[in-house]
């Protein structure tokens, strides 16, 4: 292990679980009733560079549905660091997708 620690991926967002509006859930044909809303974006973080802003509602990361906060964390293995992952989200009621290059969680940080 060259680095002496286990590197972890990171996006640089503060998230909170949120219930999806029923009409939106149906239009997205999504079985999960919840997603994760962005309440904070760290400057110069992968999320910031990908154009994610406060209020975006994350639906899926790397093709895996985001219903709980753990669903985001579980996609941030060290092996994905430096690689782009598809991030599907809702902004202004419409679904969008961007590629987000996973960063390495700063040591000592969260």
């Amino acid at each position: 292990m060259k680095k002496g620690h286990i590197p972890q991926g990171y996006l640089g967002v503060g998230l909170q679980p949120v219930r999806l509006p029923e009409t939106l859930r149906q239009s997205l044909q999504r079985p999960e009733k919840t997603a994760a809303i962005v309440l904070e974006v760290e400057p110069e973080s992968p999320a910031h560079k990908a154009g994610i802003v406060i209020g975006d509602i994350l639906l899926a990361l790397a093709g895996h549905s985001v219903a709980r906060l753990e669903d985001v964390h579980s996609q941030l293995h060290g092996e994905f660091i430096g690689k782009p992952l598809a991030l599907k989200f809702v902004r202004g009621g419409a679904s969008q997708e961007v590629n987000i290059v996973v960063g390495e969680r700063p040591r000592g940080g969260e």
């Binding site: 909170q16 400057p43 802003v53 209020g55 202004g92």
Partner: protein, 289 residues
């Protein structure tokens, strides 16, 4: 200071003041607001699940909690009694510094204790939000909370609520009038919000915002096309600096419009929306008709 008829004025006010047994938290005071059993006190006094009220003549009643506003620290209780000696409220917007102020309450177990002073100021206080207070140098103690602060004629100008330094702070009587007139549906926007700090473009500063986590279907917010993820920044006139500012902006009664500034997916593009408040009952009854 000799005031003609002061004894009568004080006695009349004392009869309009009640003792509130609020359980283990200690006792408080209240003001008889209507002859039919409405009693006003502080929300922080009316916290117990069972509340008993004792009148000046010793009669005791179980009180029902009708409504409670923790932000303005007011509560309305109701007892099953009639022909009560209701207090006369004054227009607190006319109260001026230097006027004599009379406080009655039940401090430290003394029932119907009276203290006098003068009004120092009427208006907001730093660190206590934007709501006005009647500030007077009357001496209050635990047990005075919820009791009346009155003018020289015995008319209630405020509800004694807290002590700040050497000053007593009372919720103005006009705030009580507004509290009693408010219908919860009149202040209903239909959103759940979370406070956020929004980066300002081209600067390192951040501004306060309230991001919408949920928008209830058929609510005023939904009817104005607000969406989850939108960030409320303020009204047409004033930026929000706290969650209280949104609650204040929503105050009022009857159908009315409120202009809100918000962001949607872009920190640089300020948007505005006009929300119709207080019209829900009308549209429902019209729909039923």
């Amino acid at each position: 200071m000799a005031i003609h008829g002061f004894g009568e004025i004080a006695e009349k006010l004392r009869r309009s003041t009640v003792l509130i047994y609020a359980g283990a938290r200690g006792n408080g005071s209240g003001v008889i607001w209507s002859a039919h059993g409405a009693i006003i006190t502080n929300a922080h006094v009316a916290r117990a699940s069972q509340i008993r009220v004792q009148l000046w003549d010793g009669r005791e009643f179980d009180a029902a909690l009708v409504s409670r506003d923790t932000r303005r620290d007011l509560a309305e209780l109701r007892i099953s009694a009639a022909n009560l000696p209701a207090a006369s409220p004054a227009d607190s917007s006319l109260v001026r510094p230097g006027e004599l102020a009379i406080a009655i309450g039940n401090p430290l177990g003394f029932v119907g204790a009276l203290t006098t002073g003068v009004v120092h100021a009427v208006g907001p206080l730093r660190r206590l939000g934007s709501e006005p207070w009647v500030q007077a140098d009357v001496r209050l103690a635990p047990g005075n909370s919820g009791g009346p602060l009155a003018d020289v004629h015995g008319r209630v100008i405020g509800i004694n609520t807290m002590v700040a330094g050497s000053l007593a702070l009372a919720v103005p009587s006009n705030a009580v009038t507004n509290f009693l007139a408010a219908d919860p549906i009149d202040a209903w926007l239909g959103v759940i919000v979370a406070p956020v700090r929004v980066p300002r473009p081209a600067s390192r500063s951040k501004v306060f915002g309230l991001v919408l986590l949920e928008v209830e279907p058929d609510s005023p917010a939904a009817n104005a096309s607000l969406l989850p993820g939108d960030i409320l920044l303020g009204t047409g006139e004033k930026s929000f600096a706290s969650l209280d500012d949104l609650a204040t902006a929503l105050q009022g009664s009857g159908p009315r419009l409120l202009r809100l500034a918000f962001l949607r997916g872009n920190y640089e593009r300020f948007r505005q929306v006009t929300v119709q408040l207080g019209a829900q009952r009308i549209s429902r009854s019209a729909a039923a008709a």
